[in-house]
Symmetry: C2
Subunit: 228 residues, 2 copies
DNA sequence: TTGACTATGATAGTAATACTATCTTATATT
DNA sequence: AATATAAGATAGTATTACTATCATAGTCAA
């Protein structure tokens, strides 16, 4: 399946749509590289301006601050995953198979998408893993939520929750489970590389397979019917 | 059970042990109030100095920056929970009962501990819920981990993982499960108040009971034996 | 071709932040 | 009495996170 994915981001997230201008595109693609290299805290509009041969002032015309730029990138990331999961599960009837495909997509899609997407998804994933909680767990989250900053993430969670509900209509906490599954995938990526005592996943080349297996293991145990 | 809990924090976290000095105590207890009110970003040593009738320079003698002060507070928080869970499960034989007590402690202890602890645990919990990922998901986490900044958190996870392993010795991912359970309790506290679409927990006076019930539901489904 | 509009660049300036350094004073200890 | 330590007072610096203004180049419409 070869598709070029170009996620649309809610227009309340930016001041001027970066995807409609050359400078805008430069801003977002170079932000992915730079934030990946130096981290969110060290990243500034001044440094980015220098890197892309532009100025601080010009970047401020697209995003009011670096937090919002990060919100934009996260929205892109979740929208990308959501789009792919929707696409890949569309034709599947069996919800258990849907779930397997969704898990596979969550785990493998970013590293396999360097040619079918404007941004480098693997780097973007690393950024989102490290930084997403910085933008979601804040005092301002309620206001931001009302502004639709997290729509893409919420839609992805709803889609997953829908699959859980299909598998077991009596399951009480599909939304909680959806956020937990996403969190689990993110957290184990991070911990296996950085805090190995906190996970059973070992860092290495089959890391993603281990994570897929683990997520499947949890889902199967949670949804197994006592039909022996 | 009435105990005064006074967690000890790894001495690599601070420059000078705040608990040994009046000013130090003032610093940590007032940080809890101030950070709770204005959030981590807005919080500065200058503002705190003014609040407690001291100066920026004096606070820098205890902590090299506000991140480390947050590390200190988080360590205290996790150490506090870990201590209580150890204490309350010590005499219990049945691991399933142990788990129930551990979950109860995670959910209820902070709000019930305003008289048996130097810090205001409910406020501290709100801070940890909002900010813990800021200190754990960073580029520097590996170095910090080696410095023992997260020992308390890791010990708590190990204790929980031990209980899971007792319940089901064949369970493959006790550590992952432990971090997921803690995360679940934190995340649902946060979401029910701030991002209600992402959880089934409703904000209100029985919020904690709902969370306890939900965590129990997940654990029971994961560990139910097919013994019908 | 003129005029208007827009995207960007260039430059300057400001308030706040995150420190660092030094000097003084008060108090406790030996 | 001498010493050590805690902490207050003050000053200073580099960087950050903006805001404001003005100039310029290209595009499109009358």
């Amino acid at each position: 399946m070869e598709v070029y994915v170009n996620p649309r981001v809610n227009d309340q997230v930016y001041l001027k749509n970066p995807m409609e201008f050359d400078l805008g595109k430069k801003i977002i693609s170079n932000t992915v590289h730079m934030m990946h290299d130096i981290g969110f805290e060290q990243f500034t509009f001044k440094k980015l301006g220098k890197e892309i041969g532009s100025t601080e002032a010009s970047i401020y015309r697209y995003f009011p601050n670096k937090q919002r730029l990060l919100v934009y990138l996260s929205a892109w990331y979740w929208e990308f995953l959501h789009y792919l999961i929707k696409l890949k599960t569309k034709e599947i009837e069996d919800p258990k198979k849907k779930l397997k495909v969704a898990i596979k997509t969550l785990v493998y899609a970013p590293s396999e998408s360097n040619n079918n997407c404007f941004l480098e998804m693997q780097k973007l994933q690393d950024i989102v893993i490290e930084q997403f909680y910085k933008i979601i767990r804040t005092k301002r989250v309620t206001i931001q939520n009302e502004s639709g900053y997290f729509e893409s993430f919420k839609r992805l969670c709803s889609t997953l929750a829908g699959i859980f509900k299909e598998i077991d209509p009596n399951f009480n906490y599909p939304m909680t489970m959806a956020t937990a599954v996403i969190e689990m995938s993110i957290n184990n990526h991070f911990c296996s590389s950085n805090l190995p005592t906190l996970t059973e996943i070992k860092c290495g080349k089959d890391q993603k397979q281990q994570i897929e297996q683990m997520m499947t293991y949890f889902c199967e145990r949670l949804f197994k019917k006592c039909d022996c």
